[in-house]
Symmetry: C2
Subunit: 295 residues, 2 copies
Amino acid sequence: MTDKPLFGTVAFIGIGLIGSSLARVIRRDGLANRIVACARSDATLEKAMELGLADHVTKDLQEAASGADLIVLCTPIGTCGAIAETIAPVLKPGQIVTDVGSVKQAVIAAVLPHMPEGVAFVPGHPVAGTENSGPESGFDTLFEGRRFIMTPPDGSDEEAVEKVAELWRRAGSTVDRMSAEHHDWVLALTSHLPTLIAFNIVGTVDDLESSTKQEVIKYSASGFRDMTRLAAQDPDMWRDVFLNNREAMLEMLQRFSEDLSRLQRAIRWGEADALEDLIRRSRDIRRNVIDAGQA
Amino acid sequence: MTDKPLFGTVAFIGIGLIGSSLARVIRRDGLANRIVACARSDATLEKAMELGLADHVTKDLQEAASGADLIVLCTPIGTCGAIAETIAPVLKPGQIVTDVGSVKQAVIAAVLPHMPEGVAFVPGHPVAGTENSGPESGFDTLFEGRRFIMTPPDGSDEEAVEKVAELWRRAGSTVDRMSAEHHDWVLALTSHLPTLIAFNIVGTVDDLESSTKQEVIKYSASGFRDMTRLAAQDPDMWRDVFLNNREAMLEMLQRFSEDLSRLQRAIRWGEADALEDLIRRSRDIRRNVIDAGQA
């Protein structure tokens, strides 16, 4: 595209899978005049330069944030509060800060209080990803056909919200808007709980003696393999997701455990009808997922 | 191939995904002179004839089994005992009965006592499948590159065991041999537990009020989708698997629940290290699965 750029300078704080994919979109479509990348490790920054993802790289948060029209936080959720606090002194009215975290209430609570007057914080979550991480794992079609959920608090700067929405539309996503609380509840079910369960089942296998473990891996094609794929994602990111979506996770885990106890009882007492009923209901849900174009 | 057929007549009791896929292999490579299919429903039998999977179809178990060199039980595990009892009076020495069930101890206990002197029962399990069922869902490459696990009891007719093994090798599978007890334990972990967990999590979502449920489906791309795929399999088959691998399932569920309680506690009390440790271990297992060529 040869449209006028949406932004002068975009600064990425963190340039892993999500950040580097968005940087690729910005490069491809000329959506910004200049990209700055900030990360903690030299290796990441060198890789970002080598891949042509940034015009300038730095380990200094304030240097990255200074003068950027849009600052995109792409680090694990638990770091967002401290980053916001660090960059706050250099922020000026008119700048926009956004994020890509999978939990929204905790990020808003951590970041918003640090935002100076006139600086907009637009919390967002691109519902997309792969099991890979790092700047080399990104690609410019990661967000195509996916959802970008925005959860701007009441009284947000609507012009800033619209600019961030437009960026994600250009990346190919459908933009949805909802409350942060609702987002965290829905994502707990669709993403956080399934991923935790996958980690847990893989962990259960890891506790086996090594000869059995090798066999489980050998025969993993029938179900376990799908669990390991879900369980292969970035550790820092997921640790923070689980800890920061605490209330919804605890509620969902409680429901899940109750349901699983009922199944365990059905197996112990040979209750065929209870098992069959559950399995048939699951099939219906699967059909709904297919009908919704998500399969 | 134009080799001499392995069998004169092969009779399939049940002609769904697994049975029809094996029938396709037999047809493709000319591994039998004649295929007989037996099922309970007219629609299934008509479909099998229409697809050219059988030379003769019947709803009568004894008619199907009479004179067949190989009888393949491809019905839900829970039906195998009654089928064996029904066909026993027409079986003659030299005939081979085999099965494809995902649980082996229960099938052996149900079938073996009915086998007349001189009739070999060769229990087997092709570790392969899709979420689809019925004769139209089969395909002749389903077993290629997969494992076929045989669990013949001590004192089995080794010639019969080898003939069944050869059939599955021709289907493209690697043939492994182990005790039925060991099979049931390994499969509980690699297949039965992950599938039960998937059913359970999908069931937990199904209990939500319908507006939330619709949203969960809308955002299912991030984890939940993979669970619904695992949970979309044949209800009758899985009901029987869970009920018939009772001991291993209860043991695995117990371990899984203990581990999940530990995670729940880590989330409640903000124990970042415990979560991170689990996530990192899961990643290592995923790497092992990839290294084993199962991903």
